[in-house]
Homo-oligomer: 414 residues x 2
């Protein structure tokens, strides 16, 4: 009876022939407009970096000094451990994993691929593009549950006793999709790992390092500091980018790691390229000036994003309380929704048939397989607020239909 | 006696304490200034590509449509066989070779690395950064002499009977360092190759496709057309870039290949990145407009470069006639100087000790080993003309010293 009512509501939505997209972590047009001034020629005029190199010409493969300084501050690492690169941290991770896989993490170490069927630990739910990289390289992925304050580190510590477990990939702050930030205890547990593999590497994708929704940030202990203290800094490679600070696809990305790893990455990169886009580095450095400038800019993003997150969270609270679980992130780009087991795919399908695109159910797990078919990733940033509200209302409606259908099926099978 | 005189002249030069650089194929500051207007915001305002995608946001991994059209015209290939990428064709070649080596040229083919000690053919003299890529990947390099109109294709046809010979890397137009353009017969001989390896790949680095010094161009037959006719198009992968059209390091590069190869490259790239810098693509398309705009722009480069090339060539003609051989390029970035055997390293050393940096002797050969120690690469583009003249005069002086010393040694050993 309740299901019949909900389905009627659903049909009314379908009749609206919506075309809404809540699938990807893209900034909205009002957010990218915040950086429009960055496109002015003044930021690259004159075009010489502070070391005298003309950014309009070849050279400086590891980044202009002022860009290294900016990223060193942003990432909390010494300048000589930062390599400032092109537009995408995803490429930095991909290229680094390819290097480890086929040439070895450092010149002294055997390629991972020459050591057998190697494995990576994947905190779940996680980021589909991370998993796609690992899968494409033939690296076996092992799910590790995310707990309230980060991955289940007791389990991780167990897994790394296997020398074929070569690493772990994660988003430590405002994680994708849950928006969780690893606690100090979790970060210290990472630093304290004693993996059997000497070439164990954690890819620390700090994509949302300054992407707060509120005035106070979720503090994240610096992994390279903690690891240095623990004598394990070679196990950690960190990346970040300006993709969701300035322009996705036209920002600047950087990779930071221990001296040994930095050396290995630079050695490969020195063969791979003559240098990255220094004009875009210069543009970003002069526009953002430093951490203070970045923070002020991110507050403008937050002012746009906060109401969107709160809108969706309010609708979840109103419609799904007691029926499902979700995270309440204080930063990042996503909300993670956990439905009763067996309901995620059906909810996704119903949404699709009503014109709302959501990240596919299962995408937040390796191989696209959510073992319990529970998790959905909500990306509230891109749609304008009015569309977002419609999409969220339709989402909770579809979720309730799926839950009721599921319960009905369950009772049938009893 | 003549040597004594030359050495006196050399000492006089040394006293000048010069610091000149004729080593790399970098445009001069007057050349990069030609594109300064490209840095204005007007070229990316409004920022939507013609398919409606906002270039300030994620998406379009293979390039915006108008950029694909521009490169399709530039490279003479169908738009759907072009992938417009980031700033560097070197990275495109590196990444492609890594893909072939470790994952296979296409999904159906075994990785090169899994097939034994594979080899590449390297027309010599050639480009040191090409050789560095192959060496870093552990690919054995085999020298193939450049003849007047391209590589010795009879020899190439012999070598490719070996299934471990997996490819060849070359600059077909205004070759680096000789400035030679492959004749129609040579290009057709490439297309007619019937290699034993089904995953044979020629990396066709068309870096200087529009880089003429004179009003008429050295015609280059389109390899993908010729290969399509011959049924061998999967053997050829071509790249080019705007590095020496607009800004080295801040231009746009593209890769074009057969449908099967394009598909394989896109499949890998779709994992490696969410997308390249579309704002820079848009900027270039709107600024250069089309082939006519590119040609007009390249004429301005030629007007700056032609006198520099002619200056150096005049000094070579005046001082080294009958003593050495050199090429007289009609485009590109280099002049190739062939000294008598055993004289290149010594000339390089003498130059260095007088403050002139030249590409190291041997660099134009795989493993940095010029078997006869004859070849030097002259890069006349970067120094201002007055400095270039000094550098060239010192070069011919050092060459003459080396030649005389060498002759004296030879007579001693008789």
């Amino acid at each position: 009876m309740q299901l019949t009512q909900l389905k009627k509501e659903y049909e009314a939505w379908q009749a609206k022939k919506l075309a809404l997209d809540m699938s990807r972590g893209k900034p909205g047009a009002d957010q990218t407009a915040l950086s429009d001034d960055l496109l002015e020629a003044k930021w690259v005029t004159p075009s010489k970096a502070e070391n005298g190199m003309d950014c309009r010409n070849y050279g400086v493969p590891d980044g202009i000094p002022e860009a290294k300084r900016l990223f060193a501050e942003l990432m909390g690492v010494p300048e000589d451990q930062v390599i400032v690169c092109g537009n995408a941290s995803l490429s930095l991770m991909y290229d680094y994993l390819v290097q480890c896989m086929f040439q070895g993490a450092t010149a002294e170490l055997k390629p991972w691929a020459a050591q057998g069927a190697i494995k990576f630990l994947c905190p779940v739910p996680g980021y589909d593009r991370h998993f796609a990289i690992l899968e494409s390289l033939g690296i076996e992925m092992i799910n590790v549950p995310m707990l309230a304050d980060g991955p289940d580190m007791a389990l991780v510590a167990e897994y790394v006793k296997d020398p074929l477990v070569k690493g772990l990939i994660c988003v430590p702050k405002y994680s994708n999709p849950e928006g969780k930030t690893f606690s100090e205890a979790v970060v210290r547990a990472f630093a304290a790992l004693r993996p059997a593999a000497p070439d164990f590497r954690v890819i620390w994708d700090n994509a949302y390092c300054v992407h707060d929704l509120y005035d106070t940030t979720d503090p994240l202990l610096n992994i390279l500091d903690a690891a240095r203290e623990a004598g394990t800094e070679d196990y950690f490679v960190t990346v970040t980018s300006f993709s969701k600070v300035s322009f996705p696809g036209a920002g600047v990305a950087a990779i930071a790691a221990s001296p040994a790893n930095t050396k290995a990455i630079k050695a490969r990169m020195g063969i791979q390229t003559i240098g990255h886009d220094k004009l875009n580095q210069l543009r970003h450095v002069r526009y953002f000036r430093g951490m203070e400038g970045i923070k002020q800019h991110m507050q403008k993003h937050a002012a746009i994003l906060r109401p969107k997150f709160e809108e969706v969270l309010g609708i979840l609270e109103r419609d799904l309380k007691g029926l499902a679980d979700w995270t309440v992130p204080r930063g990042g780009y996503f909300i993670s929704l956990d439905l009763p087991a067996g309901c995620a795919k059906r909810t996704h399908q119903l949404l699709k048939e009503a014109g709302v695109v959501l990240t596919p159910a299962g995408a937040t797990f390796p191989y696209g397989k959510d073992p319990e078919d529970r998790n959905l990733r909500i990306a509230p940033t891109f749609p304008p607020t009015a569309e977002l509200r419609q999409a969220a209302e339709l989402l909770t409606l579809c979720a309730r239909i799926a839950i009721l259908e599921n319960a009905a099926n369950d009772s049938k099978t009893i």
